[in-house]
Amino acid sequence: MISDDLLGNDAHWAFGTDFEDPLAGVDTTVPDGVDPASLARYCLMLGDDALVLSQRLSEWCSRAPDLEEDIALANVALDLLGQARLLLARAAAADPSVVPALPDDSPVPAEDALAFFRSPAEFRNVTMAELPNGDFAEAITRLLLLSTCRLAEFESMAAHPDAVLAAVAAKGRKELAYHRDFAARWFVTLARGTAESRRRVLDALDGLWAFWPELDAPAGVEVVLDQVFAAADVSRPEVAPARGLGRECVHTEALTDLLAEMQSVARAHPRGLW
């Protein structure tokens, strides 16, 4: 319909050729010496973090402080959604027993069965990812804390004996480095902007810091974070840690609500084709 001479012939597509099946053509055999069940469990932890945070970030769509930030937050949400798809698909391929049972004639692919047909008590994401959205300062602070940790996790995961996971890590590292830089830049900007923005970012940090221990930050993360805090002229809050047990599948009501909404259409049509 749109002529090539007018628009040029360099159409860029939003997605790669492997968009239908995130692991199409990939050898998903679990290597010797890797326990499939614990590999799947690890993939679900990281996949659920990405899925749930992506869902929270996408709630910002059409609500961000300006169009540029609307687009930026959607980019982060899309990156995380892509990571979630790969990790959930990897979990299902490594250990099919983690995938909820659906009717035999169900056309639902494994990644969607995991996302849409598990109950809250089967999700392994950390609590910080599922907390209800607050203001922009809260979104930025949460993204800073989670992406800093996740980047470090992915950096070590790049050497994982499972080639699939190593490849996911190699791709995801670049995305996460950008997420962290974006969040860090905004964190410093808000902390040193106006009195109001500083108050908001400090409130956000106080609220989120209780859930920091649950992230079990890999070595080196706190050093990076301290640099950002120093640039922002912010010190680590003194807050008693909350009892975050997301990795053990214990969640707040916020996750129940999030999933009820996210899963509503898929569950209404368990034999639906989408």
Binding site: W13, A14, E68, Y178, D181, F182, T189
Partner: protein, 93 residues
């Protein structure tokens, strides 16, 4: 309420090509302008390198300045009513 300044964005589509003007955006400073340019104008891998410059820092010729007849009119935005901010409650302007 403040508005972020306008930036012009230039992209190098691939190595060996010039940077080409692709559009504009708003950003509070140069670093944010670069990040916004990446987010807004390279969503489909359109670029390998980005330049941003504040629109007000571009020096431009008038398109018709080779023709002296039209030279005096080119950049006088103040000739246009939309150049002036009039409070909304003032009628018939």
């Amino acid at each position: 309420m403040s508005e972020w300044p306008l930036y012009e964005v230039f992209l190098r589509g691939k190595r060996g090509l010039n940077h080409v003007h692709v559009g504009s955006l708003h950003a509070p400073d140069d670093r944010f302008a670069l990040m916004h340019a990446r987010d807004v104008y390279t969503r489909r891998n359109e670029g390998v390198s980005i330049w941003v410059v504040r629109a007000c820092e571009i020096t431009a010729s008038s398109p018709d300045e080779k023709d002296p007849m039209f030279a005096p009119s080119g950049d006088k935005v103040y000739r246009h009513p939309t150049f002036y901010d009039i409070p909304a409650h003032v009628p018939h302007l």
